[in-house]
Symmetry: C2
Subunit: 137 residues, 2 copies
Amino acid sequence: MSHKIKVGDNYEYEFSFTQEDVEAFARLSGDNNPVHLDPEFASKTIFKQPIIHGFLSASVFSKVLGTDFPGHGCIYLKQSMDFLRPMYVNLKYKAKFTVEEINEARHQAIIKTIVLDLEKCKTTISGSATVMHKERL
Amino acid sequence: MSHKIKVGDNYEYEFSFTQEDVEAFARLSGDNNPVHLDPEFASKTIFKQPIIHGFLSASVFSKVLGTDFPGHGCIYLKQSMDFLRPMYVNLKYKAKFTVEEINEARHQAIIKTIVLDLEKCKTTISGSATVMHKERL
């Protein structure tokens, strides 16, 4: 895609993570909080079972912005994330992106970024990204 | 550490990432934006060489909050990140955490989170985390 992105444009992407992904992220980041890795520990929390790291789940924003919308060459300036509900492995989620503002002179956009639990139709992560792309913005 | 955290408490943690870490994060997240992976592509950008994914660099916040300060059992509620300057592999960075507000009734804290480039003494990522910890907050 090389056409210009405009206010109101949107993009959707379905994804899921496995427990192996969670373990790989724990090794990579060093975040071995047992709420992500230890079913026995997690069973005693309000989540009942291990949850995906928020940073791993929200990395779908980096993936889509950096490779699809606006795509390769995208420079990440800001991201906010409200982790509203727990996310679990092997469930299907959908990331939704809506362009809210564009500054053409700076080649920048503010894009609303959310993740939806497809089973319960509830938002699990809500946030906003600011990105720069020389060709598409 | 099991004592209560209070307003003004702070924590520091030094870290660095390798190009192998960047490649592992690209595989895990699916973010294969060439600005992170392709020296030829990166040489034509303002960064001159491949930069670390913002989400990988900022995962140090997840690591420290989830394992050290406040530590295991910490629940991530919010994180904002302003990616102010590029970050490169094999350089030393320091993450700094300062407790700004505590809500004891809710066991929640707002913690200022920044990353410093130790060579240039400049902030590379600036942000704020909101976390919950039943014992320490």
